[in-house]
């Protein structure tokens, strides 16, 4: 895992994260990410199998509330920040690929 991260890896990860990186950005980010990842990889060295993982600072079990109706946003409020709205709904680009 110390073999670093390649330009193709960064392009793949950016695609997974839905960020359309330019070629110039890939060139710049790849060495920066390599340095960061090499530096943080040291955590594996001291994380032995017998250490339990911590996901949360303050352990909590399930937190429930009463199942009662509480006021929420009106449709107008919920849609107020939308890039496009149609018939009181979020209007989105087509969700299927061209070959679908």
């Amino acid at each position: 895992m110390s073999d670093g991260i390649s330009r193709a890896d960064v392009a793949h990860l950016a695609n997974l994260a839905r960020i359309d990186l330019s070629d110039a950005e890939l060139d710049r980010l790849t060495p920066e990410l390599t340095v960061i990842l090499e530096s943080v990889a040291q955590v594996a060295a001291i994380a032995s199998a017998d250490v339990p993982p911590t996901s949360h600072a303050v352990p909590l079990s399930n937190v429930f509330r009463e199942d009662v109706v509480t006021p929420g946003l009106t449709p107008e409020q919920a849609l107020a920040g939308a890039p496009a709205v149609e018939q009181q709904r979020f209007a989105v680009p087509r969700i299927l690929g061209e070959d679908a």
Binding site: A17, I19, L33, T54, A57
Partner: protein, 505 residues
């Protein structure tokens, strides 16, 4: 006489005594903002009309004999990561440019209910990723002590606003040091409460297991007063602690360290810390000893790995949290260049490319990598284990001592632009503040003087066990009083005067 140099507690007293009105106090601060913020750039949005309306309403209610909250009428600035209904909220990002939240964060509701006029929203690194505000999409904030230097980050806007007398109080959020490090480099006070002590409802999430909102002020007592107001249980945040707020105000007024055991963390100091930072820290230790505290050196060996742990856990959580910026329901939407009838995924990718800055992209990609199959165990899984080791180090240390202290930040404020090309060196700014976030414990930073070599403020950090936030205020206020006796005036009075522009009314 302008009220801008008074503490929040002093303003509150004068308001209660009828010596000054909230409308006057609020106008004083709006005038100050108009005069200096062109240079400081602490604010991303102002709501002068809304603030004055709140102020006049408080004045009328006070005149009618209504019982008000002690801070009613004291104006406040709010970090731009906090949702404020009707006031633009961007988290310093292009992707949320112009977004007006349809609801208030829990803490915004508390501020409004108590009658604090909200002056505006403060600048920050984009989505709170950074230690300098240079990652803000709207230009950096400048340190009031030296406009060529960083005000810290991510909450540099809140710290600079308070440090430049543009607001007596501000709200910050602290995921790895974003309240405490800006406080240290601007000579102000900042507190990260125990994780879960202040509701996260309505904060734009960075790393949900680390994020915590808290007060940014010029005095320890002011921080306690604000902490008491915004703290407490909120059913809308399932990680909110269902227990009373620790007695922080009482502790700030007690300010007595005699008989207290104070631990110095061996790993948070020494090499890598600027000489002037170490000198001021050592002097503060001497003062605490003279005041009757017992100083003990403690070792927290796993802290060496805290920075690495943080830079895996934070990007992992952030990459997941920021997936909601998908160009569909709010925020920016741009189509890919030269594509007729693009798909939703293409629009998403083009929007995130255009809307996110470099640091956000870096961290999303690191987080995506750390969570991906084949790497999860080595990176994210290991980081979660080291998180356990760090919490265990704290637990052992707090068996020996009541509080821990360290320098807040290894250096004073560096020059704008000097670390932008070197992300790792920027990350090192938070080496002393990050362990508290990983373990969920509270931390406070207060000014302890200026470094000899550059004349810039140095901060000292106090850490306490979870839910013992009151200890921070007791120790912080005691040290603040000892230092004030020495200095004769608050440290901020030594900052150079800012050039002022004539307010245009």
């Amino acid at each position: 006489m302008s009220t801008i140099r008074l503490s929040a507690a002093e303003i509150a007293e004068k308001l209660a005594a009828g010596e000054v009105s909230s409308a006057e106090v609020t106008q004083d601060h709006l005038d100050r903002i108009a005069a200096v913020d062109g240079d400081v750039n602490a604010f991303l949005a102002l709501d002068g009309e809304g603030a004055l309306e709140t102020a006049r309403d408080v004045d009328a209610r006070r005149a009618a004999g209504e019982t008000l909250h002690p801070l009613a009428g004291v104006p406040i600035a709010v970090k731009d990561v906090v949702a404020t209904e009707g006031i633009v909220t961007t988290a310093g990002s292009r992707i949320l440019e112009g977004w007006v939240p349809p609801y208030d964060a829990f803490l915004t509701r508390r501020l409004r209910a108590a009658g604090l006029p909200i002056l505006g929203k403060t600048n920050m690194d984009e989505f709170a990723m950074g230690s300098s505000t240079e990652h803000s999409a709207y230009g950096p904030t400048h340190n009031p002590w030296d406009l060529d230097r960083i005000p810290g980050g991510s909450g540099g806007g809140s710290a600079a606003a308070v440090g430049a007398y543009e607001a007596p109080l501000a709200i910050g959020t602290d995921t790895g040091g974003s309240i405490r490090q800006p406080a240290a480099v601007t000579g102000t006070v900042g507190v990260k409460p125990t994780y879960g002590g202040v509701s996260r409802y309505g904060l734009i999430a960075l790393a949900s297991s680390l994020d915590q909102a808290g007060p940014v002020t010029r005095s320890v007592l002011d921080a306690a007063l604000l902490h008491e107001l915004i703290g407490g249980h909120d059913p809308l945040d399932s990680t909110s602690i269902d227990a009373p707020v620790p007695p922080v105000v009482e502790a700030a007024r007690r300010a007595d360290v005699s008989g207290l055991r104070i631990g110095i963390v061996r790993e948070l100091g020494g090499e890598g810390y600027q000489a002037g930072v170490r000198a001021r820290f050592d002097e503060a230790v001497t003062l605490l000893t003279k005041a009757g505290a017992e100083i003990v050196e403690v070792s927290c060996p796993s802290f060496e790995y805290a920075l690495s742990t943080y830079y895996l856990i934070l990007p992992a959580e952030a990459s997941s949290n920021l997936a909601k910026f998908d160009a569909m329901r709010y925020g920016l939407r741009v189509g890919p260049h030269g594509v007729a009838d693009p798909s939703a995924e293409q629009v998403m990718a083009a929007t995130r490319e255009a809307g996110f800055g470099d640091e956000v992209k870096r961290r999303i990609i690191i987080g995506t990598y750390a969570l991906s199959s084949g790497y999860y165990d080595a990176y994210y899984g290991s980081a979660q284990k080291v998180r356990t080791l760090i919490a265990q180090d704290f637990a052992r240390a707090f068996e020996q001592v009541d509080v821990l202290i360290s320098p807040t930040s290894p250096t004073t404020a560096f020059r704008l632009g000097s670390k932008l090309d070197d992300p790792m060196s920027m990350y090192l700014q938070d080496v002393a503040t990050i362990p508290a976030n990983l373990a969920g414990i509270p931390g406070l930073s207060l000014p302890v003087g200026v470094a000899e070599e550059d004349g810039l403020p140095v901060g000292l950090q106090v850490l306490a066990p979870a839910m013992a936030d009151d200890r921070l205020y007791n120790v912080g206020a005691a040290l603040e009083r000892l230092l004030l006796e020495q200095w004769g005036a608050p440290l901020l009075s030594k900052a150079p005067e800012l050039a002022t522009k004539e307010a245009t009314k």
